[in-house]
């Protein structure tokens, strides 16, 4: 409870886009965040349904000059876990980094930040993405969500396209989300190409290794694409992940989805996925199909209704269906 009060107390009124006189390049302090509530009716436990607050995030974004920025993000979260038991809520430092924009082609970050990987890896999934549940390849966090280290990112823009890259050296995932790789050294990068806001494709390559145990490693390759049709009314998206890990056979996983924005504020999203699932089925293959209805309400509210069909390769894990309800608010 104290953690909740602390987080709410820190959410002071946002001071956005302060401009005085004709000079736009001033110190800016921007506070934002989001919170959500949701729950699932689950076939495995039909007696139980409880709405629960899953995330409360607060970002403090300080812009000292057009080139120098600091972002500090605190999180109080209890992710919707398909495995059990569910973890307790903890107030954590999610991100804290200093950013220097040297030029559009080279921006430097030092501190703890999200691993630049894939289309939308772990970036506030519940609020910013189309579904309530993350895909299996994201839920398992085969590639650590956070990195503590140095990142260089940049953008090469052309008349009708842009190329974006990110390179990082990480000294582990300090958030503790990915225990097996928590203390490991990692490096890698991501490159993506956007053509005319219609088509986007990219690739991420990462390698993590334990410095003490040189035979403990993970090599990850992720390929992704997004295609917009009819000026954002219909959108197709896919991500494919290939893994080489010490002690495990090579494996891959994917998700593919089709989203139809049938009005400006509502959509239907259909997602198919298949991947090795360490959380739910101890590494056996998990296939899922999800249908989501999403509605964007005024004042930055969103609601989602989601039906999920889960199937497993091995019969020792029972197939099950779920119906989820979610609401989120950004401030």
């Amino acid at each position: 409870m104290i953690e909740w009060l602390l987080l709410i107390a820190l959410c002071s009124p946002p001071q956005t886009n302060q401009i005085a006189g004709s000079k736009a390049h001033q110190f800016k302090w921007h506070v934002s965040g989001w919170a959500d509530i949701g729950g699932y009716w689950d076939e495995r436990d039909s007696e139980r349904f409880s709405l629960d607050v899953h995330h409360v995030y607060m970002l403090n974004h300080l812009k000292f000059s057009p080139k120098l920025e600091l972002l500090v993000e605190m999180a109080l979260e209890r992710e919707y876990e398909r495995s059990s038991p569910r973890p307790d809520r903890e107030l954590e430092l999610e991100r804290a980094y200093l950013q220097y924009k040297w030029r559009p082609q080279a921006t430097f970050r030092v501190g703890q930040f999200y691993t630049p990987c894939g289309l939308y890896k772990q970036r506030h999934w519940a609020y910013t993405m189309d579904t309530f549940q993350k895909p299996v390849i994201e839920e398992n966090q085969y590639i650590p969500a956070n990195a503590l280290g140095i990142e260089v990112t940049g953008n090469f823009s052309f008349e009708r396209s842009y190329l974006q890259y990110a390179l990082l050296i990480s000294d582990g995932d300090q958030s503790g989300d990915m225990k097996p790789l928590q203390d490991e050294f990692g490096f890698g990068g991501d490159v993506k190409y956007n053509y005319n806001d219609r088509f986007l494709a990219g690739m991420s390559l990462y390698r993590y290794r334990n410095e003490a145990e040189t035979d403990n490693y993970l090599n990850a390759t992720q390929i992704y694409a997004e295609w917009d049709l009819f000026r954002h009314q219909l959108q197709w998206r896919m991500e494919w992940l290939f893994l080489e890990r010490s002690g495990f056979p090579e494996t891959d996983g994917y998700y593919s989805q089709l989203k139809w924005n049938f009005t400006k504020v509502s959509y239907l999203n259909l997602r198919w996925e298949k991947a090795e699932d360490q959380l739910l089925s101890q590494g056996s293959e998990h296939a899922a199909t999800l249908l989501t209805l999403g509605i964007h309400l005024p004042k930055r509210w969103k609601v989602k209704l989601e039906y999920a069909v889960n199937q497993f390769e091995h019969s020792e894990y029972s197939n099950f269906n779920q119906l989820g309800l979610w609401a989120g608010y950004a401030f």
Binding site: T16, K23, A24, K63, Q99, P104, H124, N155, E159, N261
Partner: protein, 142 residues
């Protein structure tokens, strides 16, 4: 995609009239920018692009309470684009700011006159106002 599926989407997706208002893009006379593509303009207003041909370039606009604000969004992004949702998502991701909002077009033109790195917009019907300020029209390459 099968042709009948395309037809279903086409008929079921609500059709909204295109915006009747057209806009011109404006910047300070001292700006190095003379032309911009529609792709660059969209990405500029989405905060994804901060320079064009190595020249810093930032977006400015008018306040949300003015109807021209929404008309410009519809003109640039189409009627199905949800501007409010886009910025709500950017806000929780961090590191993004909406285009600077000015209270009127007169204030916007005065702001652009003094801030050479910014571009703004003006309804075509107000094009004559350009002669009262030290700003120029930027050509849009479709």
């Amino acid at each position: 995609m099968p042709f009948n599926l395309v037809l279903i989407f086409w008929f079921l997706t609500p059709m909204v009239e295109s915006s009747p208002t057209s806009f011109i893009i404006v910047a300070s006379e001292k700006s190095a920018l003379d032309s911009i593509t529609e792709f660059q303009l969209r990405n500029l207003y989405l905060g994804k692009l901060e320079s064009i041909k190595s020249n810093p370039c930032l977006p400015a606009g008018v306040a949300k309470r003015l109807p021209e604000n929404q008309q410009f969004i519809t003109w640039l992004f189409g009627s199905s684009f949800n501007w409010g949702n886009y910025w709500a998502e950017q806000s929780v991701r961090g590191m993004r700011h909406e285009p600077i909002p000015l209270g009127s077009f007169a204030l916007l033109l005065a702001f652009l006159e003094r801030n050479h790195d910014y571009v703004g917009y003006l309804p075509s019907s107000l094009k004559d106002e350009l002669k009262n300020f030290d700003v120029k029209s930027i050509k849009i390459n479709r």
